[in-house]
Structure formats: C-alpha cells, structure tokens
C-alpha cells in the first residue's frame, strides 16, 4: 500500500469529485454539464476499481498497473469528450456544433491511428500498449485543444463566468500535469515528484467545484480584462 500522504491526497480527491457532482445536482446543472459530471462519475468508478486492485494485489503488482492504465485511458477519453462539450458550448451560438463534432471525431481518429502506428510492432501486448499510447497522446491533444479554446474565448469575448472558469481550470490542470511530466523526466529520483501527480489530480475537481458553488449560470465577466496591461 502507498504511504499515508499519498492515501490522504487520494481521499481528498475522491471527496472533491463527489462534491462536484453533488454541487451540480444541487445547482440544477447536472444535465447542463453532463459530460463534466460523467467524467467525475467515471473517475469515482475508476477510483473504486483502482482501490480494489491496490488493496488486493499491491501498488507494484501487474494487476494494479493494468487497472490503473486502462482506467486512465478511459478517463482521458472522457475528459476529451468533456473538453469537446465545452467547445460545443463556446461555439454553440455560432452554430458551429456540427463542425466541432466532425473535427473532434476526426482528431480522435487521427490520434488513434497515430497511436496504433506507434504500437503496431508490439504483438504480445497490443491492446495494453495501444490503450496506454492513446491515453498519453490524447492527453497532449487535449492540452493543445484547451489552449486553442482559450484563444477562442478571448477572441469571441465569451462572458459566461462558469464556462470561462471551467476552461481556465482545465488549462491549468493540463499544464500542471505537463510540467509534472517534464519534471519527472528530469528528476524522477525526488520523492516529491511522486506526490505531485496525485495533488494535481485534486486540482480539477477543486476548481470546478469552487466555480459551480460560487457562480451561477447567469454570472458574467469580461475575459478581455485579463489581457489588459498596465500603462
């Protein structure tokens, strides 16, 4: 079993995931943000599966490793769909929904083909390697898409506070994981890096729950102010 700090971070994360779903239901926004809620519900299911394998086989077992990376692939796919749902909301008023869906499907297909090309030689563990590679690649596609969406939010002068905060939080989350990934490659021997990914995992449910609690659907702000510089 992992140490008490890692377990504490995990429990906090689970509580925050539940909090987001509960807040959505309480604020009558569950179906409005269905894909965000689905992501957290799948996250809770993944946590349950991971806990089962962790307590039964241990953190260094192959079973936990498989459970971890298969659920990770599923969650990355769910997060990608959640991100596309945010795209659909931003571009919804411009009636670009069809184009967004088509582009998202095309991008997913392209990522899947690219991932398959990378793992095609692996005959023994093709499914596992493909799930792992797709998850990793889709993650970076999501990172780039979030920045593009933020550019669109600024360009279109999006004013819906919740939507803006959700996108900003997602950008922060993706960027923090990317930084953690780079740091792991540079200095994986430092134990603090091991706790970082768990702590970052709490960031998204925390910021989204805060947004859901603090702002209503009618709240508006002006993201153009973020670009203002002191003269």
């Amino acid at each position: 079993m992992p140490g008490p700090l890692a377990l504490a971070i995990w429990y906090v994360g689970i509580v925050l995931e539940i909090a987001f779903v509960v807040c959505s239901i309480a604020r009558k926004s569950f179906f409005r943000y269905l894909f965000l809620n689905t992501y957290f519900l799948l996250g809770l299911g993944s946590d349950a599966a991971r806990y089962y394998f962790l307590s039964r086989f241990g953190q260094s077992s192959g079973e936990y490793c498989y459970a971890y990376f298969y659920t990770d692939a599923l969650l990355t796919l769910a997060l990608y769909i959640a991100l596309i749902s945010l795209y659909a909301r931003v571009f919804g008023e411009l009636r670009f929904n069809r184009h967004v869906r088509f582009g998202a499907a095309l991008l997913l297909l392209g990522t899947a083909l690219f991932s398959y090309a990378v793992v095609a030689q692996s005959e023994k563990r093709l499914t596992t390697d493909f799930a792992y590679e797709l998850s990793q690649n889709l993650y970076f596609v999501g990172l780039v898409l979030t920045y593009i969406l933020w550019g669109a939010v600024l360009k279109l002068r999006e004013t819906r506070t919740r939507l803006v905060q959700f996108i900003l939080a997602l950008g922060l989350y993706f960027s923090a994981y990317a930084a953690c990934y780079a740091l792991t490659n540079l200095s994986s021997r430092y134990s603090v890096v091991q706790y970082m990914s768990g702590a970052i995992g709490c960031l998204l449910p925390l910021t989204w729950t805060f947004t859901m609690l603090r702002h209503t659907e009618e709240s508006r702000l002006e993201p153009a102010r973020l670009l203002a510089v002191a003269r």
């Binding site: 990522t111 792992y132 990793q136 490659n185």
Partner: protein
C-alpha cells in the same frame, strides 16, 4: 471539398503540435517517464507499459 481539406489540415496541425510538445517535454528520450494523469490515485510502482521501449 476545400472545407474538408481545411479541417483535415487543422486536425493534422493539432496532432503535430501535440506530439511535438510530448517529445519536447520527454526531453527527447524514447524511454521517457510514463505520464500519470487523471485522478489523485497513487501511480503504480511496478513495471509499466512502454511501447517505444
């Protein structure tokens, strides 16, 4: 037709940017660390999948 080609070009550009970013962050090594994302669960410490290895 041109719209479809534009969409294809955009998708390819995003894919190239993403994979470029991934390579840059992995500091150019093929045997780079595994990205552990999605959720606060502790990452496995055993042997991890690595197709490029």
């Amino acid at each position: 037709m041109s719209r479809k080609l534009a969409a294809l070009a955009l998708v390819l550009a995003i894919l190239v940017c993403s994979m470029g970013l991934k390579t840059a962050l992995s500091t150019g090594h093929a045997d780079s660390a595994v990205m552990v994302a999605n959720g606060p669960a502790p990452a496995p410490t055993g042997p991890q999948p690595h197709p490029t290895r």
